[in-house]
Amino acid sequence: MTHDFEPATRDTRVVLDSDDISRALTRLAHEVVERTHGATNLTLMGIPTRGADLAVRLAAKIEQIQGQPVPVGALDVTMYRDDLRLRPARALQPTTIPADGIEGRLVVLVDDVLFSGRTIRSALDALSEHGRPQAVQLAVLVDRGHRELPIRADYVGKNLPTSKSESVQVQLVERDGIDQVTIEQA
């Protein structure tokens, strides 16, 4: 999973545009409300950087449906990764825990792309440092397959069959000035 911005080339194709992303998030919001029985005990934790942006958007959509604000935070998993030694030390991202914490809450982790599952494994470790949620679920905008761990998403915006050599890039207005998901052939 990489987020490096590359100008569109012949080998890059857009798989979700701005409207697709918005519709997918709306559907995810409804699914979360349904499966959590009204989202009353819900806390969203986004994984920086773009997962955190998506969590904020998802929280806003759930609030529109339910009329109640949803606690939303960000969870940096960098120091919990299993591949720290394989790359130079990485910059840390902010972790923010909502005021009520995560103890006893139904936490939905939010990320942009689900690939190997290693980021989510790290997130589960990072989350446990902050308390013991009642349950943890996972929402992703894109599931591109190729899992390396026994991890699956509870809410998926779009299943995107890819080959391992392709890279999936999620761009969001908050950081990239545009909402789109592209696949690039390596």
Binding site: D76, T78, M79, Y80, L84, R85, L86, R87, P88, A89, R90, A91, L92, Q93, P94, T95, I97, D125, E129, H130
Partner: protein
């Protein structure tokens, strides 16, 4: 970067990365995460040839909070007091599998020697060498300044800092003069001519012999300890005379702008370079400097040891 030997090793971007990392680590600590995992299985040796409580315990706490194993090795009560050379000590530590050595030494240049000799393969962090440098102190001072004066982001452009006192013997002053200027701050060195080093005009700092006229436009005053243990000559007539002319008392502190902060790297000689009422006043950030020191040293150890070796 593999070693941190001098504040001059850091570009503006490097320094900001350290400060940003420190602030994320401080936030994790504030959120109640007592121990973080990134240095699990790594060994950090604290090799201290000089007495130190705050720096050694600060490095020890930093390494332990990142889950590293810590070996404390002080010259007193070790084979060093039996005459072992730095080289043999280093080879011993290498044989024990040290991933990083945090060294404090009374000789300027000892960390450089250790890093470049080939005696050890791990990283070297300079925790103070002679009258040369103390880069992590400069980083924690920059962090403290940035938190109070620049909302904990970016650099220190436009910040004015007076560093006052025994600049000659101060590795803290030397590292700060380099780092603060790298981050865009301007530095004024204030002290008696006898305690300003030869060649100080090449440091790029303003130099003043008069404290009273040096306070009304600064954002921070950093008081230095008078290092009597390094003084082999009469640098000033008497302690009383020194504190009269260069001590920070409440009358002088009142000349500082309202927002300006008072710093001291410790240990303080209360009544000498700083009076107790100023050291304990609301504008004093001296105790906070200590807790910031742990966060900044965690950041340095994480950036040096948290990834693949030698590429951070």
């Amino acid at each position: 970067m593999k070693h941190l030997l001098s504040a001059a090793d850091l570009t503006r971007e490097d320094a900001i990365t350290v400060l940003d990392t420190a602030s994320q680590l401080a936030a994790a600590t504030a959120q109640g995460v007592g121990k973080l995992p990134p240095l699990r299985g790594r060994t950090v040796v604290n090799l201290f040839y000089e007495d130190s409580t705050r720096t050694r315990t600060s490095f020890e706490a930093a390494a332990k909070r990142l889950s590293a194993d810590v070996i404390n090795f002080s010259a007193k009560g070790s084979s060093v007091s039996k005459g072992e050379s730095l080289k043999d000590t280093a080879l011993t530590l290498e044989a024990m599998g040290a991933d990083a050595v945090v060294i404090r030494h009374h000789s300027s240049g000892a960390p450089h020697q250790l890093a470049n000799s080939g005696w050890i393969s791990g990283g070297v962090v300079n925790a103070g060498d002679g009258t040369h440098e103390h880069p992590t102190q400069a980083l924690l001072d920059a962090y403290t300044l940035r938190r109070h004066l620049r909302d904990n982001t970016g650099d220190l452009a436009g910040v004015k800092v007076a560093i006052v006192g025994d600049v000659l013997h101060s590795r803290v002053a030397r590292s700060n003069a380099i780092l603060l200027q790298t981050l865009g701050a301007s530095v004024r060195l204030v002290g008696p001519p006898t305690l300003l080093p030869f060649g100080v005009e090449t440091w790029g700092c303003e130099v003043s012999y008069d404290l009273d006229s040096s306070l009304d436009d600064v954002d921070a005053v950093m008081m230095l300890r008078v290092q009597r243990e390094r003084m082999n000559a009469a640098y000033f007539p008497s302690a009383h005379e020194y504190s009269n002319r260069y001590g920070l008392n409440s009358v002088r502190a009142a000349r500082m702008p309202d927002h300006a902060i008072v710093m001291h790297p410790g240990p303080m000689n209360r009544g000498m370079e700083i009076t107790a009422d100023v050291a304990d006043s609301p504008r004093s950030v001296i105790v906070e400097q200590v807790s910031n020191g742990v966060s900044v040293r965690m950041a340095v150890l994480y950036l040096l040891l948290g990834g693949t070796e030698g590429t951070a």
